[in-house]
């Protein structure tokens, strides 16, 4: 066993402190009985109860979830299509321009993206609400999906698609039966990325939402401006908990798949 040197202990501690102390404080105060956020008055779960009866928060959570699911799904379809054309389309007129432009929204300040979308929606007379947030989120998250999927497609052995064509599959069938199942992990992680981006977006949602639709980040932001309430702490703790469970599940299943693949390969080696 390697023992940790004092230097490693210090850097490890500093890292954890910077990353987790703010969240830890938030989690602790979410169980505070006092209404004052900074004064500890004993353990209580009453803020969680109040949160569940707060219609405004529940509505906002529902809007956020709907927007995230719909926009990330559309973004995944569009982003995968764009990635496929960019990687497989060969040389066509405007390819360089298109590939440059698909990456531009990644580095574009969110304020500008939000503002330009707002102007567009006003220009075409689209009422702002859930639909406009979905459209806005689809727009910026499809670029991320396209980046993730195209990097997978670049390492994809093209002869697999040729083999499918050679065996009589139409181009559509060869994509559906060969390409898609193989790039599925990248498509799924693209979807997850888009979903997460949509969940925690505040800036673009603020620009493109209307009075009928408020997302959770917007709701939290507006209520914090009136003072941090323990309810917000409780809500944030739930969100941290969900993210933690998600991350742990994902990494466990990846590890499980890797272990199974290794076992399979060992079995194959024994068989030969």
């Amino acid at each position: 066993m390697n023992r940790l040197s004092p230097f490693n202990v210090v850097s490890l501690t500093l890292g954890f402190v910077f990353l987790y102390v703010p969240m830890l404080i938030l989690v602790i105060y979410s169980f505070n009985a006092s209404k004052l956020v900074t004064v500890w008055a004993g353990f209580s779960t009453k803020w969680y109860g109040e949160l569940l009866s707060n219609e405004a928060f529940l509505d906002a959570a529902w809007v956020t979830l709907r927007v995230a699911v719909i926009s990330s799904t559309i973004a995944t379809v569009l982003g995968t299509m764009a990635a496929y054309v960019l990687v497989r389309g060969g040389r066509f007129f405007g390819r360089t321009l298109f590939s440059g432009m698909i990456y531009a929204p990644l580095v574009m300040p969110e304020v500008i993206t939000g503002l330009s979308l707002l102007l567009l929606f006003i220009g075409i007379g689209l009422d702002r609400g859930v639909l406009t947030i979905v459209l806005a989120h689809t727009t910026f998250s499809m670029c991320f999906v396209s980046v993730v999927v195209s990097s997978r497609l670049m390492t994809f052995d093209r002869s697999l698609e040729e083999a499918a064509l050679d065996l009589g599959a139409s181009p559509v069938d060869s994509f559906r039966l060969v390409t898609l199942p193989i790039i599925a992990p990248a498509v799924i992680s693209g979807w997850l990325l888009a979903f997460t981006l949509s969940l925690d977006d505040l800036v673009i949602a603020s620009f493109t939402s209307g009075p009928s639709a408020t997302t959770l980040p917007m709701k939290i932001w507006s209520s914090v401006r009136l003072g941090v309430s323990p309810e917000i702490n409780a809500l944030s703790t739930i969100m941290i908990g969900l993210v933690t469970i998600g991350v742990i599940t994902a990494s466990l299943s990846t590890k499980h798949a890797a272990l199974r693949a290794k076992r399979d390969e060992q079995a194959a080696a024994r068989a030969t």
Partner: protein
């Protein structure tokens, strides 16, 4: 009763299954295939042999339908196949990387092509079982491609490409990834399967031994052109050019000018002051024409004492010995620096070998041993 020799290329009435007619393929300004005309006959095992970049893979991809000729046309069984997409051609290909679908089992890989043309489950199942049996993979049907060995993968790729009973099977460097022993066994397996199924095979390879072993005919290619098309023994024994002679196997080349000394016998003056070498040639040469004499090392004998009655005899000393176990190749340096390679079978144990480095020796060959080539 004489056995019928399989040689449809010598039969004027035989209908080729593939016809390349003045096919040119350009990628930008690069000419991959240069005005190529070629016939391949049904049930042939045809090898395209050449160094990398000679255009052999491009020819195969044009047959499969992944590339189209820039000029000229290709006929498959009498029909021009330009414009017929890859998925509509009665041609299947075995890819160099095998291109097995990693998410499908061996069974499903083999069934993939069959499912595209029929939904008859019983027929698909029967055909897959037949293919599994042919390639001896019955026990591995449920495995995924990453769960089997390289040699087994190669057999799956073969089974998958044969499952649809194509008119023509293309094999792109099919044995490249196998080690020497497995490779040799697989070559014979391929020939066996080709005979059993009666499918026309076109194999692309850069390995001349592989081409010699499996093929009924070989096309030696260089820079988009075919240098010679002939049976393996003709390619080896009667190469049409110095390039072919040099590409296939090892060869000694003497260059000089020829003088006729008989009806079909020529004397080649290969060095000032040295005795000319004599050779019998089927092709005729003009007086004083430049020519090359190509002699295979195994047709050159090495002697420690000067022998009598040898058509061509040159004196030199042993410069190098390449010991290959069953064979030894002696590099003999002639006065003036020319090196002649002579190969002998090691019928005696090494310790009893009489020739060693720096020994003065004679190398000799008969006048029919070599081929006189114009260029």
């Amino acid at each position: 009763m004489a056995e019928t020799v399989f040689a449809p290329w010598d039969v004027p009435t035989a209908e080729p299954i593939i016809r390349f007619r003045n096919v040119t393929k350009r990628f930008g300004t690069f000419v991959a295939i240069d005005d190529l005309t070629l016939d391949i006959y049904p049930q042939e095992f045809f090898a395209l042999l050449g160094p990398s970049g000679c255009g052999k893979t491009t020819m195969m991809r044009m047959l499969a339908g992944f590339e189209n000729p820039t000029e000229g046309f290709i006929e498959l069984a009498g029909k021009d196949i330009a414009g017929v997409p890859a998925n509509k051609r009665a041609v299947n290909m075995m890819f160099q990387s095998y291109a097995l679908f990693p998410h499908l089992s061996i069974w499903d890989n083999i069934a993939f092509g069959l499912r595209r043309e029929t939904s008859d489950k019983a027929a698909i199942s029967a055909r897959v079982e037949e293919m599994l049996k042919l390639t001896r993979l019955e026990k591995l049907a449920r495995r995924k491609p990453h769960q089997i060995s390289g040699g087994q993968r190669q057999r799956v790729a073969l089974a998958r490409s044969l499952a649809k009973a194509p008119k023509l099977l293309l094999l792109d460097e099919p044995l490249g990834a196998l080690d020497a022993k497995l490779r040799e066994a697989t070559q014979f397996e391929l020939m066996d399967i080709q005979e059993k199924t009666g499918t026309t095979f076109v194999i692309v390879t850069h390995d001349q031994e592989e081409a010699m072993t499996v093929a009924s005919r070989i096309a030696v290619m260089d820079e988009g052109r075919i240098m010679q098309v002939a049976t393996p023994d003709r390619i080896y024994e009667a190469p049409a050019s110095v390039y072919v002679a040099d590409f296939i196997g090892d060869v000694n080349i003497l260059t000089g000018t020829v003088t006729a000394t008989g009806a079909d016998t020529y004397a080649l003056t290969w060095k000032e002051g040295a005795a000319p070498v004599t050779a019998v040639s089927e092709t005729t040469f003009a007086e004083g024409q430049q020519a090359h004499l190509a002699v295979r090392p195994e047709k050159v004998a090495i002697h420690t004492t000067k022998p009598d009655d040898v058509d061509n005899l040159l004196e030199g000393k042993v410069l190098d010995i390449a010991y290959l176990g069953n064979l030894s190749t002696y590099h003999v340096e002639l006065p003036g620096g020319q090196i002649i390679k002579a190969q002998t079978a090691n019928t005696r144990r090494l310790s009893r070998r009489s020739i060693t480095w720096e020994d003065p020796v004679w190398v000799g060959w008969t006048k029919t041993a070599g081929v006189l080539l114009g260029a």
